[in-house]
């Protein structure tokens, strides 16, 4: 059983998706999906444990040997990402049934769970697999289900947002496929480890340069790096709240994982950062992205837009850490991957609760919510503090590592700018706090009650995690650090 964990991680949600269709009744399907997600979560915990103690796990699909057959390869990096995805999906699913009751037509509830599980499968597959073409397949599974999930939003603009995401996502996926195709042309292999051994022989050719460019740009589109972020705000804002909470915490993270995987493991450190000016490009784009997106967030009136733009700026932080190509820099990126998932899922789940009670998340409707929904608003405040990077929250830990990494290489002007950007986060969080706590409620909005327990439980688990991992950093730092070290130490 334990030997088959890598495939179980992916196959459980994949098999569960069609079973949902048989079960039909929405409540039952919800319970079933939740159980599946918990199973996936426990698998990922076991996987992480195994990897941390006994090193890389290689699983050959159907017993076909590695370069020919498909290989699932779990090391510290992807075990960590798998854990993030499955834990968030589980917590989000707890609140899913209550949330979609108000946001999605009744007859589509079952379909929602099918799509959710397929999307989960796709993400887990992307992360678990060690085969470049397999990545593309799972990318399409997760993306196609994501388009459909976003289109389920009750606002009609959801359709249009989903359509735009479809166009952009497809361009991104095509770019990645073109890149993989070019690599295959040059090396004749699709297995990542095999690729990493054969690529250096042909590294000086333009084809490999082009392959790298296509893969990178395709991934940057997927991870919404400035200026390729334009699809994201609307997709997040108009999707059903639960979907937003899930994607905000996981989807872009998976793309960042892939970027790390391709640059560090497949193309190799020396190719990615010395033959190609990746560092300058990424640092510049990351920094501009932080400032542009944070400033845009300040002027948004739909709170989902605010936090969607804030996600884009947070991605900027991760990309800056990544661009440093040092162990500390990469550690900060991986830490922020985990920490940002905690903050954003807490915030977006709280927004889902507000959506459930109030019906929309326009800033004006937040008036007086500080008194009417104290626990939900407190969660947003803690999440916001974490976004700013206040000590005792996870946001501080990852920002600290990022700043240390920047200072380590003498980039102190960038460090100063990063600190300055935190002030922008203060502004957009404060706008919400001011309205929610210091303004009287709108006269025409009926007073609302605190969110039901089914929302509060997952929200507060995440909030407590935000504080806990901000104080006791042993787990997250240790895993992120050893994952970063292994990426620098030995190639895949």
């Amino acid at each position: 059983m334990t030997a088959h964990l890598p495939i179980l991680q992916v196959i459980i949600p994949l098999m569960a998706a069609p079973i949902c269709l048989i079960l039909k009744r929405a409540k039952l399907v919800w319970l079933f999906s939740l159980i599946v997600s918990v199973l996936a979560f426990s698998v990922s915990v076991l996987l992480l444990q195994q990897v941390m103690t006994s090193g890389v796990i290689s699983y050959e699909l159907g017993g076909w040997q590695a370069p020919w057959g498909i290989e699932y390869r779990i090391d510290k990096l992807n075990a960590f990402v798998l854990l993030i995805i499955t834990s968030i999906s589980t917590l989000v699913l707890i609140a899913a049934q209550a949330s979609i009751e108000k946001e999605i037509p009744k007859d589509k509830h079952t379909l929602f769970y099918v799509l959710f599980l397929l999307s989960l499968t796709g993400m887990l597959g992307i992360v678990a697999t060690g085969d470049a073409f397999n990545v593309f397949v799972f990318l399409e599974i997760s993306s196609l289900s994501a388009y459909a999930l976003i289109a389920l939003g009750k606002n009609r603009r959801a359709l249009w947002a989903s359509y735009q995401y479809l166009i952009m996502g497809t361009i991104g996926a095509t770019f990645i496929l073109i890149g993989i195709g070019l690599m295959y042309q040059m090396t004749g292999t699709l297995n990542m480890q095999d690729l990493s051994q054969r690529l250096p022989e042909v590294a000086a050719t333009r084809t490999v340069f082009v392959a790298f460019a296509f893969v990178t740009v395709g991934l940057c589109l997927k991870l919404a790096l400035f200026p390729l972020h334009l699809w994201l705000p609307n997709a997040y804002a108009f999707a059903p709240s639960i979907v937003t909470a899930f994607f905000a915490a996981t989807a872009t993270k998976v793309a960042i994982y892939l970027l790390i995987r391709f640059t560090f493991s497949v193309f190799g450190l020396s190719f990615s950062f010395t033959t190609i000016p990746l560092q300058t490009v990424f640092m510049a784009l990351g920094l501009i992205g932080i400032f542009v997106a944070s400033s845009t967030a300040i002027y948004q009136n739909n709170i989902k837009h605010v936090f969607a733009y804030s996600s884009i700026s947070q991605i900027g932080y991760m990309i800056i850490g990544f661009s440093l190509s040092s162990v500390t820099g990469l550690t900060s990126t991986l830490l922020h991957l985990f920490n940002h998932a905690l903050m954003k899922s807490a915030i977006f789940l709280a927004l889902a609760a507000i959506m459930f009670r109030v019906g929309n998340v326009q800033l004006d409707n937040f008036r007086g919510l500080g008194r009417q929904m104290p626990l939900t608003m407190a969660a947003i405040v803690v999440g916001g503090l974490s976004l700013i990077g206040v000590p005792l929250t996870v946001g501080f830990v990852s920002k600290w590592y990022l700043l240390t990494a920047l200072l380590e290489q003498g980039w102190w002007p960038i460090a100063a700018l990063v600190l300055l950007a935190s002030i922008l986060a203060v502004v957009y969080v404060w706008r919400i706090v001011e309205v929610a706590y210091f303004k009287e409620p709108l006269p025409d909005r009926a007073p609302v009650k605190e969110a039901p327990l089914i929302f509060l439980v997952p929200i507060w688990i995440l909030v407590i995690a935000n504080v806990y991992f901000g104080i006791d950093t042993r787990f997250s730092v240790q895993v992120a650090e050893s994952a970063a070290q292994s990426l620098f130490g030995v190639s895949l």
């Binding site: 991104g172 296509f214 740009v217 200026p227 334009l230 033959t275 600290w400 380590e408 460090a415 730092v477």
Partner: protein
């Protein structure tokens, strides 16, 4: 039942939480009990380091007890107790909770053994204290509070940046002697300086304190600047630059204080002046000077609190605080008058009162170390203090011309708080050894020798003479309803209005250009009118898919270009 390593901020924070759920007499009892219980607890805590844990790869010490921090903790407990008693009559949860949290944060900062903990409490001080200003609930107070908050948070951010540099240099976050020989040292120095109200960074103090509530100012005057003094004493003892900064701080506020009309703002200026004495002491850095600085901080908390309380009582009872509106109150507010005079005499360093026993230490140290000019400046500043705080405050509030106001003495709790503070002023003045025994160094200093007493008495008499003479001749700046311009005029008026003028010129030029341009553009647009749909779509806020795809192409092209030219 005592938990020996319970940091003293904990009872205050727990107390603040309890306040939320209690009302009336029970709440008052809890508020008074917390500083008393916590002080008794603290009394039994011996020196030594407590409570450490690892965070990231650093050792954090959220609770470190040594002589320096203990002394400040004692006086903060006294200040908290006095402030709480002074505000017992309030029925304002916001203020009472904020005051409790603020006192707790100050205690947390004093016991912080590492820069990160210090930073956390540093920011907490800012965030909790701002509510004491906001609680005035006026637009003026709101604006002042926001300016205050921005500057305080900025100080915290600079401190964090400094801590970051410090950590990368020394691989440790321990908060001890830092010194000014690195970027980290300077950043942290600036952060402390902002909170300490160094010249040009002092405006937040004179801007915000007079706008705070009657009781809020009492708390504010006790903690924020003293924390900064404490931090400077720990990190930069003997940094010579502090001597000059401190001397400037003692002198320049005098001119503002003399012409200022709002009596609480006069006190705010004199607060900067007193902090200046402490900063000079820290800068000199000898055992005597440090002792003097710290002892003066201890005394200043009490007598400045007393003065702010007496002015607060006046404001509370009459609703006015401008010198020009007040006067003749001694007839109906005799208790307040007497207590205020005790405070005024203390701050002016009358022998047998607390100011005398500590201020002379700093001045002696300056003379001993050869800072003669500085000594003269301090002498001038002492005379100035007597002028504006010692005479002006009681004179214009309680005597001068009869304003016709017939306000009675304030509620008993306010009188009691003032009486406690006045009693402490006198007690320390008469028996300074009690205070000296708490100081970090043993210098065997005796303030009551002939030179000190005579010099101070001369100073006081001539200063008083000057006031009387100027007043009789009608030369003393009269109390006018006026606005005193300080450096903050630069960023509150000059820069904005200057910018406005510049922009107006730019706009005029711009308009002329645009008029010409729009004419041309109209012609062009008419030509393009068939294709206007596409134009508006390009400018609309929601980006069309086409433009997104275009960006992809741009990024891909530039990426390829960059990789090929390598």
């Amino acid at each position: 039942m005592w938990i020996i390593d319970l940091p003293p901020f904990v009872p205050f924070f727990i107390g603040a939480l309890i306040l939320l759920f209690t009302r009336g007499i029970l709440r008052s009892a809890i508020m008074v009990a917390i500083p008393i219980v916590s002080a008794i607890h603290l009394w039994m805590v011996p020196e030594g380091v407590y409570l450490q844990f690892a965070f990231l790869e650093y050792q954090l010490t959220p609770y470190r007890v040594d002589k320096l921090s203990l002394l400040f903790a004692y006086v903060f407990h006294i200040a908290a107790l006095i402030g709480i008693i002074f505000s017992l009559h309030l029925r304002d949860t916001l203020q009472q909770v904020a005051a409790m949290l603020y006192s707790g944060s100050a205690l947390g900062a004093v016991f912080a053994g590492d820069l990160l903990t210090l930073f956390i409490f540093w920011e907490l001080l800012a965030v909790t204290s701002v509510f004491l200003i906001l609680a005035r609930r006026t637009q003026r107070a709101y604006d002042a509070a926001m300016r205050y908050l921005i500057i305080q948070v900025l100080s915290g951010v600079i401190l964090l940046a400094g801590a970051l540099f410090y950590a990368s240099e020394h691989n440790s976050l321990a908060f001890g002697y830092i010194g000014l020989d690195s970027i980290a040292g300077w950043l942290i120095f600036i952060a402390f300086g902002i909170k300490c109200a160094f010249p040009f960074a002092h405006n937040w103090l004179t801007d915000a304190y007079p706008e705070a509530t009657v009781t809020g100012t009492v708390f504010l005057s006790a903690f924020t600047t003293k924390i900064a003094v404490y931090a400077l004493a720990r990190a930069y003892p003997g940094a010579e630059i502090l001597v000059y900064i401190g001397a400037a701080m003692t002198c320049f506020p005098i001119f503002f204080a003399v012409i200022e009309n709002d009596l609480r703002r006069v006190l705010a200026y004199s607060l900067i002046n007193q902090v200046g004495f402490m900063v000079v002491g820290i800068g000199i850095g000898t055992a005597l000077a440090i002792n003097g600085a710290i002892a003066h901080a201890f005394n200043d908390v009490i007598f400045k609190g007393l003065l702010f309380m007496s002015m607060g009582a006046v404001l509370h009872m009459t609703g006015r605080i401008n010198g020009s509106d007040l006067g003749g109150l001694y007839k109906t507010m005799p208790k307040t008058t007497i207590l205020c005079i005790v405070g005024a005499a203390s701050i002016s360093a009358f022998p047998l009162l607390s100011g005398f026993v500590s201020k002379s230490m700093v001045m002696s140290a300056a003379l001993e170390e050869g800072f003669d000019w500085i000594w003269l400046m301090l002498l001038f500043a002492s005379a100035g203090v007597f002028h504006h705080a010692g005479i002006k405050i009681p004179y214009f509030a309680f005597f001068a011309h009869d304003s016709g106001i017939r306000a009675s003495d304030p509620p008993n709790n306010m009188v009691l708080a003032m009486a406690i503070a006045a009693a402490l002023c006198i007690a320390i003045g008469i028996y300074p050894q009690a205070l000296y025994s708490l100081l970090p160094y043993d210098t065997g200093y005796n303030p009551y020798d002939a030179t000190h007493v005579l010099a101070q008495a001369q100073l006081l008499f001539f200063s008083a003479l000057a006031f009387v003479w100027l007043n009789l001749k009608g030369l003393y700046p009269p109390e006018l309803r006026s606005t005193v311009l300080d450096v903050d005029w630069l960023y509150r008026r000059a820069v904005p209005s200057g910018l406005q003028k510049v922009f107006r010129v730019i706009w005029q030029a711009d308009r002329a250009l645009r008029d010409a341009f729009t004419l041309k553009l109209d012609i062009c647009l008419r030509y393009f009118s068939g294709k206007s749909d596409r134009l508006s779509a390009l400018l609309s806020q929601n980006h069309p898919s086409g433009s997104m795809a275009m960006w992809v192409a741009v990024v891909l092209a530039s990426f390829l270009f960059l990789s090929f030219i390598q």
